[in-house]
């Protein structure tokens, strides 16, 4: 993505295209661990969806079905907040790939 020169920027640090952080694939920040969904343990409390700082919990209707790895940073908050004794979200090892950079 080409970055603007100072002359091309909107006045006063304004962002005239709000929501453009969608192009920032925070999934590239993941380093070593990713969440894994174990459906049979899930009580559908939606805590993970509520706590995820990157809106990376995938829902279908009102049900958790997994993760959007484009944005999941692997922070593990969802796994910590997951209430069942037998957790529905566990962090598993992920082979570290050097960041491939932004797709778009």
């Amino acid at each position: 993505m080409k970055k603007e020169s100072w002359k091309e920027l909107a006045i006063g640090t304004l962002n005239l295209n709000p929501g453009n952080s969608v192009a920032n694939l925070t999934g590239t920040w993941r380093s070593g661990k990713k969440p894994q969904f174990i459906e049979e343990n899930c009580i559908q409390c939606l805590f993970c969806w509520l706590y995820c700082p990157h809106f990376a919990i995938r829902l279908e209707g009102e049900k958790v079905v997994g993760f959007n790895y484009d944005y999941c940073t692997g922070c593990g908050i969802c796994s910590v907040e997951c209430p069942p004794k037998e957790k529905a979200i566990v962090m598993v090892k992920e082979e570290i790939k050097l960041a491939e950079g932004r797709k778009k």
Binding site: S5, W6, K7, I11, G12, T13, L14
Partner: protein
Amino acid sequence: MRTLKPLNGNQSIAEATRQIDPDVIAAYPITPSTAIVESIAQFKADGLISGEFVCPESEHSAMSVCIGAAAAGGRVMTATASQGLALMWEMLYIAAGLRLPIVAGIANRALSAPINIHGDHSDTMGARDSGWIQIYSENCQEAYDNFIQAFRIAEHMDVRTPVLVGLDGFIVSHSVEVIQVEDDDAVKSFCGEYKPVYPLLDTSRRITVGPIDFTDYYFEHKRSQIEGIENSYKVIEEIGKEFGRTFGREYGFFEEYRTQDAEVCIVVMSSAAGTCKDAVDELRNEGLKVGLLKPRVFRPFPNEKIGEALKKMKAIAVLDRSSSPGAFGAPLFGEIRSALYDYEKRPKIVNYVYGLGGRDIKVEHFKEVGAKLAKIAETGKIEEMCGYLNLRE
């Protein structure tokens, strides 16, 4: 109706505010600017202004309200002094960074410690690098005139930068002068209708105000901010002339007094310049070819114009009503000395810090400076580059 009114400096600022009637006024009273806020509160209670008058719990909040209101799309003003301006500190930078055309009246006062409520320029000099345009006033008339022009300068589409107007605490803020108050409609029409840029209240257009920048954008945004204050050189000049055409009192970056054939010159800002004019007259009568240069605009600093005006002098004394501990000379001295650097033949230049915490500066002190300048001009030698005036040694 155009009329003469006996007003002190604070009332002059309040009177201009009443005539302009900004959309939002948010201020927390602090000596010696309290009467600005008090008078505006009275105007509001009497139904003479229609804008929102917000009384927040501190100056930090006052400036925060101003920022929010300006981002929402309003014409906004505030007033403060000293510790109040210091408490606004981080918000001053945000107002400038977001390019919000807020106008503030500052009754210049010393900063603690020791606590002191009297006039000096430590407060606004401390805000020197916050990105605000700074205009200083010699008397109540100038405070009134500068405050009206400040809105036009701040709101100009090439500038969109906040402006503060300084008036010396007590000496100007509390001294009554008969000033020319212009007609309400004439002032309103001079300021014109406020045109917001990307107001938050325009819900048809989605914007984000004040998002975070990382290492890849902060520098560009700061550079873009600097362009606003750079553009204000031209605008300040144009508006000063337009003010002259409209109301008969023209303003430039600085005022020169008897400098035409002067060989030595005193540079001093704000109220002390008035006293200095008397000293110049007396020194002239005694045969010294002395002049006065009174900077009005400190930010942006008119270095080229001041350099041109001062280059022919044999010796110059720059008087600062603030100190910059540990620096080589006080703030104004540094600017003036730097403005003269590129000339092959440069005047000798000295610095005197005066009037801290409201310490009097009288004609005799300026005459003392004049005598020292005469000696420097004659011998070409400087005994003391940075000194103090009217201080017990």
